[in-house]
Symmetry: C2
Subunit: 333 residues, 2 copies
């Protein structure tokens, strides 16, 4: 018998389609991957091609070689200049598209995906995320900052060189407010942070946990919205990613490397997105919200049902997916 | 300057990315389509292969040849038998996966997509949707019924034979309730149906209208969530699809054929999903909800930004997309 599970954090119902369930092995990607060279002449993100990008807003370097660059996106979805203006004309509500759209180049090397980066470099990346996150929030036109990564064409990127994106928007989506409201109601009802309670329960159950490090826990949610949907939660309660400590960054770097390596080796380098869900630094004191990272491998497709019903069909059993990834041991780099 | 537009009906913000905007021609699909034969021996939906499907729950026939069959989905996401049971165990909320998952085979011919079907056959399909929609709602275990079509692999189907799906779920998603609540608040504030007001405004503006027939209007929403996102609204106010009259079915059949033909010829047979958004027959009297059809061509991809921000980026200007489709004249069948 299939079952419907409620994802309390996203407030979405998921049909866990036991009758159609596939084995974890069935999700191994069949996309053929070319072996990438370390340098590509036409790649705007490769070392040596810096002139192909807009002027950088951040650089981390070592021995005259940059390690990380943050540059404005050449094909920005939003305009960095101009005023935030709003027109409400009957049903037409419109805000001028000012904002920030940055690209973080994760390494000078074209062919190093996160699974292959040294942990120290992932630490640098998270540190750079944090710094830029806080900078962008200083712009009074910006209401919300989102840090995310698209890996692979199926995840919406055509650029192979490892990169993430940081977008600051001039407003907050209702969708984000809805989740906050949901967490707030839970807190008001129970006196507990919904995410802290989730961590407690996942640790007790154990069966959906993939990995636990000193400061972070990685698991497949009870009501995972899609196959191999993964959450990484900080164990300490804090609402804004910007409050992460140096020790926590180092721990997260190791955790993220292992998690993404397990995906890389377990599912043969699937396309994926990840996103950091966080409060703004000014709402960092919230007792009811708790930031986290959501990873969504693109190993299954949504269709008309999801579009129409607002529910999801997951053909991978969360407990089985977690067991599978727990047992993947990436080779020691 | 890009702009952000609010879709009041879905309550979602969309970045209309004017700086990255593509011309309508740039969305023409590049997927290579094989010419399909009218019959495929291994296809479970072809005429003559009826034994390959579960027993039908509905058949429309003419001169001993069926025109439409509705059969249970062989790979059903939900179980037709069993009781609806709910377990609330701490944070784990679970409902047994009972429900209905039907496939409507739209024609005996393997190679006839909606753009090529006679209008009379599309009328038959809509009539069959209506009948099955009401039947499924009679099952006391079912709370919500969704009718949808996935066309093409990019839209989530691997079966080429023209078909739609009808799913009855044992609960209503929060997502659906949120839209209803939004429409209700609008009604309570303004005394108007949000969709009636939208039709009025779209007719006045005119620039986003693709097609208007006697009983239906087809347009690109002001804040279209993706490229060539299309809505078809009945002009008469009614909340449940099941209240559609015979005359309205005939008119909708013609409208849908023209709309999908414009997509077919204008964008070279893109993958798409469509879905009917409707109240249940028992809530058919609602003054604040108004059913409609949403068509989403899969000509652009969502990525980490959409996942994280709850907003959309649309690189097609709704007014330009509408003008493009208005000017596509499908050949007379």
């Amino acid at each position: 018998m299939p079952e419907l599970r409620l994802n309390l954090i996203t407030k979405e119902w998921v049909i866990i389609a036991t009758e159609r369930a596939k084995r974890p092995e069935d999700f191994i990607t069949t996309v053929e991957r070319k072996v990438l060279p370390p340098y590509v002449e036409t790649c705007p993100f490769c070392s040596g091609n810096e002139a192909k990008t807009p002027d950088e807003v951040f650089r981390l370097e070592h021995d005259n070689q940059w390690l990380i660059r943050i540059v404005p996106n050449k094909f920005s979805a939003l305009s960095r200049t101009g005023q935030r203006e709003r027109i409400n004309d009957g049903l037409k509500h419109n805000v001028s598209g000012v904002g920030v759209h940055d690209v973080l180049i994760e390494t000078p090397m074209h062919n190093l995906t996160t699974a292959f980066l040294p942990t120290g470099q992932i630490e640098n990346i998270i540190g750079a995320y944090r710094r830029r996150f806080m900078d962008i929030y200083n712009d009074p036109r910006i209401e919300h900052v989102i840090i995310f990564k698209n890996h692979g064409e199926g995840a919406g990127t055509s650029l192979q060189h490892p990169h993430s994106q940081i977008i600051g928007t001039p407003l907050t989506a209702f969708h984000i407010r809805d989740r906050l409201e949901q967490a707030m109601r839970f807190f008001d009802t129970t006196g507990q942070c919904l995410m802290c309670k989730t961590i407690e329960d996942e640790k007790t159950d154990g069966i959906r946990v993939i990995l636990e490090t000193e400061h972070f826990i990685t698991f497949i949610p009870y009501a995972a919205l899609s196959a191999f949907h993964i959450w990484i939660f900080p164990k300490r309660h804090f609402a804004a990613f910007s409050d992460i400590t140096g020790q926590e960054i180092a721990d997260l770097a190791g955790n993220l490397k292992t998690t993404l390596s397990k995906l890389y080796y377990g599912l043969d380098n699937p396309d994926f997105n990840y996103v950091i869900r966080s409060n703004s630094p000014e709402d960092s004191g919230s007792e009811y919200f708790h930031w986290y990272i959501s990873i969504v491998p693109r190993v299954s497709k949504t269709a008309g049902f999801e579009l129409g019903s607002g529910m999801y069909i997951n053909t991978a059993l969360p407990e089985q997916s977690a067991e599978f990834l727990r047992n993947v041991t990436p080779p020691v780099a």
